[in-house]
């Protein structure tokens, strides 16, 4: 069964600093996708970034980038130049090609200290 593990229930970082959120997953599939979602206090789930497993290049979206280590089944999110608006719950998610549903991790609560 596919599982997604976020080992850091909470993280904090100083404003303008860089923080890395960890995610590992377990799968026997070769073609799959990974995502990071952000859930701010409004609780709206927002897609931050996605990574296709067949792509070796790490995805980036402005201040957000991932470190995708396929062999290690690791998918970490790096947030550079942290801003107060980055404070949120962050969820890592996985699905394989053709899957009917996404599998989510338990989330990491990120606090930004001014």
């Amino acid at each position: 069964a596919q599982t997604v593990t976020q080992s850091q229930p909470e993280m904090s970082v100083q404003e303008a600093e860089t923080v890395t959120l960890s995610c590992t997953y377990d799968t026997s599939e070769s073609d799959y996708y990974l995502f990071w979602y952000k859930q701010p206090p409004s609780r709206q789930m927002i897609l931050v970034i996605r990574q296709e497993a067949y792509k070796q290049q790490n995805a980036t979206e402005n201040r957000f980038s991932v470190n995708f280590q396929k062999a290690a089944k690791s998918f970490s999110l790096k947030i550079s130049d942290s801003q107060l608006g980055d404070a949120a719950m962050y969820f890592c998610a996985y699905c394989y090609q053709g899957a009917q549903k996404l599998v989510f991790g338990q989330g990491t609560r990120l606090t930004i200290n001014p």
């Binding site: 996708y33 995502f35 409004s42 609780r43 709206q44 789930m45 927002i46 897609l47 996605r50 969820f91 998610a93 699905c95 090609q97 053709g98 899957a99 009917q100 549903k101 996404l102 989510f104 991790g105 338990q106 989330g107 609560r109």
Partner: protein, 113 residues
């Protein structure tokens, strides 16, 4: 562009009362639709998903049920609410199994008293 609407945003219901939460998607056809529940400060629990009209898959035995009477409409229901049904309910959609990311509604905060 596609949009997803979920209502109501907040609901307070007494124990034993019925429940109906509605979710609709605009701007796409034949979406995959999902209902998730999130307990306070916790992760997402998939409750139901649907790949077509009248097709409902249940992930966890619940006091809840789901229905999809129209292509872009997904309803979460209960005949008699329990205290344990309190939580934050999120509806989501995906275009189909090829397009992989899910897009979420704004959620419903349900408090059963």
């Amino acid at each position: 562009s596609q949009t997803i609407h979920q209502w109501p945003a907040t609901l307070v219901q007494p124990v034993g009362s019925p429940l109906s939460l509605e979710c609709t998607v605009e701007g796409t056809s034949n979406p995959n639709l999902y209902w998730y529940r999130q307990a306070a400060g916790r992760g997402l629990q998939l409750l139901f998903y649907s790949v077509g009209i009248g097709q409902i898959s249940s992930e966890v035995p619940q006091n809840l049920s789901a229905s999809r009477p129209q292509d872009r409409q997904f309803i979460l229901s209960s005949k008699k609410l329990l205290l344990s049904d309190s939580g934050f309910y999120l509806c989501a959609w995906r275009r189909d199994r090829v397009s992989t990311e899910a897009f979420f509604g704004q959620g419903t905060r349900l408090t059963v008293v």
